[in-house]
């Protein structure tokens, strides 16, 4: 019974509609509860799908109906159930469910409580559509829809005071526009695929690609590279990562769900899904690996110097996505997916824990110059928020990659694959792993260790239970998630082989694993040395700054890439816009010609006919009669 997959998408959609319909009836927290139940339903349906899949590992395609049938283009609403889509569904629904629960607490008292849950539900539905689509067009619909939800949620607080609202909506627009660039690549790839294979059904495309294209065919490389552009937009890889740090303007649960656990991994999913195409294009694979590895190092270094609690995690996400893109790019897909899954757990955990901290500070700190998200105002919270502290560190250790936490296993697989693929990639990722340990430990120490550095931190109290429970569950998964694919008898790798998906595994490499663990410990140790006693205050320079000197502000600004992009892209674009608008005024509006003018003028003329007099109305009708009769006469004679 693979039909459960339909239900899985239908549940959150129903949640959207119900919440829309009942928006006036339901009071807080019931819209949230409703939305949560719907996601739970989706999760159960996904689990049942997985159960069905266990019985029939090869999966199936469920066709719901035809959508577009014009000429050669036949697009059907078809959903694909296989290991990849089912695992993605499980991740999306599980993390989504926990974040829904958490949000009920986090969004308490927000003026747009219901709307938030509508967006979240819509997102879950769109994401599920994206990962189950059996047709690239349908997938594109999901791809665009998650982008839309992301846009809506980043700008969710567009009406905040003191210019903050403006900043939020700017961030939303930025995300939208940057993603657009990536989408353009994806769209071009779709056109090219249709043009080449005359179909957009994923299965057929991959099959035809495998049979008709030879290794290294330029067309395959072009397609893969265009897809990669789409990937780097959605998964925030270089050079299109720009939007993700700003996207943290959204509510923290949304950041956790969309900008850490699920939507941003859509790019990785796309590479894995289209693996057969990438295999044919070694150049594109190399590019993907290079982009991913550089992004991983870049993100990790930028995370090192952030003071905003969420920006650290944003750059960390960019970095981790770099790991996944590298893995998927070099063909070790199961490792990429494994890391995707563990990362979804521990990164959403970290975000939610950070949200818990922000929530606690926000409600107590009212003093001027205070920023609830600035880690320099925190410290000493371990005593005040014990549950948040414990769960945060569970996630942090997973991210750092210390055994036996889940991140250790998944990251090691990637490192081992990279080690086999190319030494340069390996070194980049290895350095990134070290920096990861450093910045995570720095963040953990800044938040929880030492003494409170602000009144708000002194007054902070543990968050309510509805927020803590999801943290605990996620912490559990983060801690033991590695069991899914232990070295030796990797369950995931086993399923992977069984399901017939392309696979290229490096296997466990004890040397690499030991090195990675050692390096992670070194990173934590260094962080302890620097921040162990909670010395970073607003009035003091960051301890790291003393050692890095002028490099520090540079990496703080994301190596200046953001500013560069403004200079290189935004300014010229604005200039062009101004020039165009001038042209528009002079060329169309000012002179008495141009389409707009013609339309306006003829509309004016035409509406004079509508005089309001019945006599004239009838005169016009009689003109019609005479015209038709005249036409008939002409046809009869001619």
């Amino acid at each position: 019974m693979f039909n459960w997959v339909v239900l899985s998408i239908a549940f959150p959609l129903a949640g959207v509609l119900l919440n829309l319909a009942l928006s006036r009836r339901l009071r807080e927290p019931w819209p949230g509860v409703l939305a949560t139940i719907m996601v739970a339903g989706a999760g159960i349906a996904a689990a049942l799908t997985a159960g069905a899949l266990a019985a029939e590992p090869e999966g199936s395609v469920i066709t719901l109906g035809s959508w577009i049938a014009v000429g050669d283009l036949h697009v059907t609403w078809a959903l694909r159930v296989d290991l990849l889509s089912t695992l993605m569904m499980l991740v999306v629904t599980l993390v989504g469910l926990l974040i829904h629960v958490y949000s009920i607490g986090y969004m308490r008292g927000d003026a747009r409580f219901t709307r938030f849950f509508i967006y979240l539900n819509l997102f879950v539905a769109a994401m599920l559509l994206l990962v189950t689509a059996d047709n690239l067009v349908v997938m594109f619909v999901g791809w665009e829809s998650v982008g839309l939800c992301s846009y809506l949620l980043i700008g969710f607080w567009f009406d905040k005071t003191k210019g903050e609202g403006w900043r939020n909506s700017t961030a939303a627009r930025k995300a939208f526009i940057v993603n657009r660039v990536g989408d353009l690549g994806l769209l071009l790839a779709l056109f090219m695929i249709f043009w080449t294979f005359k179909t957009l059904a994923i299965e057929e495309v991959l099959e035809q690609a495998a049979h008709t294209l030879e290794l290294g065919a330029p067309i395959a490389t072009a397609m893969a590279l265009l897809l990669l552009l789409g990937v780097s937009g959605k998964s925030a890889q270089l050079p299109l990562f720009l939007w993700l740090p700003d996207a943290m303007a959204g509510p923290t649960p949304a950041s956790a769900l969309i900008h850490a656990a699920t939507m941003v991994t859509a790019g990785v999913y796309l590479i894995i899904r289209m693996q057969a195409l990438f295999v044919l294009a070694p150049a594109a694979q190399m590019t993907a690996a290079a982009v991913g590895a550089v992004t991983a190092l870049f993100g990790a270094s930028a995370a090192l110097a952030q003071t905003d609690i969420k920006r650290v995690l944003a750059f960390s996400t960019i970095s981790q996505l770099g790991f996944m893109v590298t893995a998927a790019g070099i063909g070790s897909t199961s490792a990429g997916l494994f890391h995707l899954m563990t990362h979804a757990c521990f990164k959403s955990l970290l975000f939610l824990a950070a949200g818990s901290v922000i929530h606690a500070l926000k409600h107590h700190g009212r003093q001027a110059d205070f920023d609830a998200q600035d880690m320099r105002f925190m410290g000493g919270l371990w005593r005040r928020m014990p549950w948040t502290f414990i769960t945060y560190w569970a996630g942090a250790l997973a991210l750092i990659g210390l055994p036996p936490f889940s991140g250790f296993f998944s990251k090691d697989e990637i490192l081992a694959s990279a080690y086999e693929y190319h030494p340069a990639i390996f070194i980049l990722l290895f350095a990134a792993a070290f920096l990861t340990a450093l910045y995570v430990a720095r963040q953990g120490l800044l938040i929880f260790a030492g003494r409170p550095r602000s009144k708000a931190a002194v007054a902070a109290a543990e968050s309510e239970r509805v927020m803590i429970w999801p943290l605990l569950i996620l912490a559990l998964f983060s801690a033991v998630g590695g069991a899914l694919n232990l070295p030796g008898n990797g369950l995931l790798a086993h399923w992977w082989e069984e399901s017939g998906l392309p696979v290229h595994e490096a296997g466990f490499n004890p040397t690499v694993a030991a090195l990675a663990a050692a390096v992670a410990l070194a990173g934590v140790g260094l962080a302890w040395a620097l921040y162990g006693r909670g010395k970073a205050d607003v009035s003091h320079a960051d301890p790291l700054e003393k050692h890095l000197g002028r490099l520090f502000p540079g990496i703080q600004q994301g190596w200046g890439l953001d500013a560069l992009s403004v200079k290189a892209v935004v300014y010229p674009f604005n200039r062009l816009g101004v020039a165009l608008s001038r042209f528009d005024l002079n060329g169309i509006g000012g002179a008495d010609r141009g389409l707009a003018h013609v339309v306006g003028l003829s509309a004016q003329r035409l509406s004079k006919i509508q005089t309001g007099y019945l006599n004239w109305n009838i005169a016009i009708m009689i003109v019609g009669i005479a015209t038709v009769l005249l036409l008939v006469a002409l046809w009869r004679t001619g």
Binding site: N615, I618, I622
Partner: protein, 98 residues
């Protein structure tokens, strides 16, 4: 026979002329009636010409009824307009334009 039809069309044309040239709402209703009379002639003549006079007559009866209903509604509207707006001139019901 054919001239009867032409006469029917002539009645239609007179009715149309009335609809174009007249300004009084009741007179417009009268012009509409003239048009319909043409239709009546045409229908009965057609039935007659194809050898089914009964059919033509039957259509005519239906037509008369339908015309009368339209006329009644038109007259009622005209009366209401006069009562509300104080005039039957088309000017008073020519405010909707553009």
């Amino acid at each position: 026979m054919i001239w009867g039809l032409v006469a029917a069309f002539a009645l239609l044309a007179v009715g149309l002329y009335g609809l174009l040239a007249l300004r009084n709402l009741i007179k417009l209703t009268i012009a509409l009636q003239l048009m319909m009379k043409g239709g009546l002639i045409a229908v009965v003549l057609a039935g007659d010409a194809v050898g089914q006079r009964g059919l033509g007559e039957s259509l005519g009866v239906t037509l008369i009824i339908a015309d009368t209903v339209a006329a009644v509604i038109g007259l009622a509207l005209a009366v209401l307009v006069r009562r509300r707006l104080g005039s039957l001139d088309i000017e008073v019901v020519s405010k909707l334009r553009g």
